[in-house]
């Protein structure tokens, strides 16, 4: 088409080709334009697509089942999980705080894969808008950390006292040749330690709407 060497036939071919290819394209767009069934958009807030079973939404930790093993903290490539725990009276770890910074989380799912008690799971939630960065940290333990620590320390102390008492008693019993009180002391100690997490669970229900994406979704 550079003037020299361009024949009339080429010129006309050019025009014909332009018209034909344009018409072809327009036929396709017209077909889509007329056919209303082809529309694929969903009206998002009203119509919601059901996420797949394996969908990796927000993380949720069922703290009743969590063993504070810190596997998730170790495996997280971006360090978005922070966990604090203290050793309870029954030698098991008691969660003091379990925070996930979802502003940092990249939803890779490695933490869920490694979680031994399967307490950490992905929810189907994906909607969470907030005004400040600080709000992006999900707190899974609702109770004040200090309170838990104090309570656990108290329990530990109590248990230790009890154990000491029991030991004393045992010693006394040994001296008196009776080992039974020591065994009875343990069942007494457990109920004292257990109600605390249960309380947490019930407290989470009303106040946990922010922390629990599933309820929002």
């Amino acid at each position: 088409m550079n003037g020299d060497g361009m024949g009339l036939r080429e010129y006309i071919n050019d025009i014909v080709e332009a018209v034909v290819t344009t018409a072809k394209g327009m036929r396709i767009t017209a077909r889509y334009g007329v056919d209303a069934k082809e529309e694929v958009t969903q009206q998002y807030p009203e119509v919601r697509r059901e996420p797949e079973e394996r969908f990796r939404g927000f993380l949720r930790n069922d703290i009743a089942r969590c063993t504070s093993c810190t596997m998730c903290v170790k495996v997280c490539p971006v360090d978005c999980i922070s966990l604090e725990s203290v050793r309870g009276a029954d030698k098991k770890m008691v969660l003091v705080s379990y925070d996930i910074n979802i502003g940092r989380c990249m939803y890779c799912g490695l933490c869920v894969e490694v979680c031994p008690p399967k307490s950490l799971t992905h929810t189907a939630g994906y909607e969470m808008a907030m005004f400040e960065r600080g709000e992006m940290v999900l707190h899974f333990v609702q109770e004040e950390g200090g309170e838990i620590k104090a309570r656990v320390a108290k329990q530990v102390a109590e248990a230790a006292a009890k154990a000491a008492e029991a030991a004393k008693a045992a010693e006394a019993a040994k001296a008196a040749e009776a080992a039974k009180p020591a065994e009875a002391a343990k069942p007494v100690g457990l109920p004292a330690a257990n109600p605390a997490p249960k309380e947490d669970l019930s407290a989470e229900a009303p106040g946990g709407s922010k922390a629990d994406p599933e309820k929002k979704a």
Binding site: G25, V40, E52, R54, C108, G109, L110
Partner: protein, 376 residues
């Protein structure tokens, strides 16, 4: 397109194309020196998206680096995932179950289709036709649905694992894949009718930024950009890995059908044709996939023996290679990533001399660069 003579030389203008520009495919900044509409020099300025992925690689374990490979080329996360897994397996000498390899090939090829779809769509959008872009997105959504089914995410998959894949294919996945292939195959012809052979589109691309085969090899281009220049080089064929030797497909090369060999149109057509080949591969893989485990026994915190390894695989944007030096600990001692887009940027300044501003957009689109891969 012709440069004015010295007598007509006017004042040159310096224009910043990017980092905020609709068609630089991200935060690429091209420093244009133009003489009116004619580009005297176009110098790409990269690094606006640098996240230090290679340094991160030294800090995290081999398994932990997997999600970061999603961020390497976010339009082809599966390919990068698998490439990393293959690289680490080569380093540690891990044998992967065959079913896992087939799954990797299936998701890789699906991802190649979805990545080429974006390349096609955004390229046409750069050329001013917005409609094909949305058609391509429509098809890509189906692939994303499939990926969500298999791994739970739509963009950053983190599906492959060292030693296999994170989970077996879910129920009905292969059927849905077949369905998608049957649905998708005729769409390629539709794209061709709609835009590929459109006179205006052809005129915009043909004979623009011609790269000779010699230059393409010399500058280290890989992937569709290399094949667009007529060089028949595909790592899946020439340095076969995984189960690719068992699958039949052709290597698409540019033919110069509407202009010179190695122009923008050839690079574009290579991608369109590669989607067909991916369909072919997928059909075979879906038919051949064996039953069995999808994960080899790999310790959670494994320590490969000290040594180094380079593994490269054919990603949608060219060769993605991981060079890993291991010192016997759980983390790589040094990690170097070679990506297609980064190497492609080398030739950018050379081929854009004397083009027009609109052609710069065409060149960027035809290279199908992606910025996270360039800056890493």
């Amino acid at each position: 397109m012709t440069r004015p003579t010295e007598a007509l030389h006017t004042q040159e203008m310096l224009i910043n194309m990017g980092p905020q520009h609709p068609s630089t495919h991200g935060v690429l900044r091209v420093l244009l020196r133009t003489d009116g509409e004619v580009v005297v020099n176009a110098r790409p300025d990269i690094g606006y998206l640098h996240r230090g992925l290679e340094k991160i690689g030294e800090r995290v374990t081999y398994a932990q680096f997997m999600p970061f490979t999603d961020r390497l080329d976010y339009l082809a996360g599966m390919n990068c995932n698998c490439a990393w897994a293959w690289a680490v397996e080569k380093l540690a000498g891990i044998e992967v179950p065959e079913r896992a390899e087939y799954i990797r090939v299936i998701v890789s090829e699906l991802n190649r289709i979805s990545s080429h779809l974006i390349a096609f769509g955004s390229f046409t959008a750069d050329m001013g036709a917005f409609t094909p872009f949305l058609y391509s997105i429509r098809e890509r959504e189906v692939v994303n649905d499939l990926f969500e089914m298999v791994c739970g995410n739509r963009l950053t998959y983190n599906y492959a694992r060292v030693g296999g894949v994170s989970a077996d294919l879910p129920q009905g996945f292969l059927e849905k894949t077949k369905e998608f292939l049957d649905y998708f195959e005729p769409k390629i012809d539709e794209y061709n009718n709609l835009i590929s052979y459109n006179k205006i589109f052809v005129h915009r691309l043909a004979n623009v930024a011609v790269i000779s085969a010699k230059d393409a090899v010399g500058y280290g281009l890989t992937g569709p950009n290399l094949r667009g220049s007529g060089v028949k080089f595909d790592l899946r064929k020439d340095e076969p890995y995984s189960v690719y030797p068992k699958l039949e497909f052709d290597v698409c090369v540019g033919t110069g059908e509407r202009g010179a060999l190695g122009d923008c149109f050839d690079r574009y057509m290579v991608r369109i044709n590669e989607m067909r080949q991916s369909i072919r591969i997928l059909r075979q893989a879906v038919a051949q996939i064996p039953e069995g485990p999808v994960m080899a026994k790999v310790p959670r915190l494994f320590k490969p023996a000290a040594g180094e390894v380079y593994f490269r695989s054919e990603c949608p944007r060219g060769e993605t290679g991981f060079y890993i030096i291991s010192d016997g600990t759980t983390n790589p001692s040094r990690l170097k990533i070679r990506t297609g887009s980064f190497v492609t940027m080398n030739i950018f300044e050379t081929v854009t001399k004397g083009l027009m501003i609109a052609d710069i957009v065409a060149v960027i689109g035809s290279f199908d660069i992606i910025l996270p891969e360039i800056d890493r």
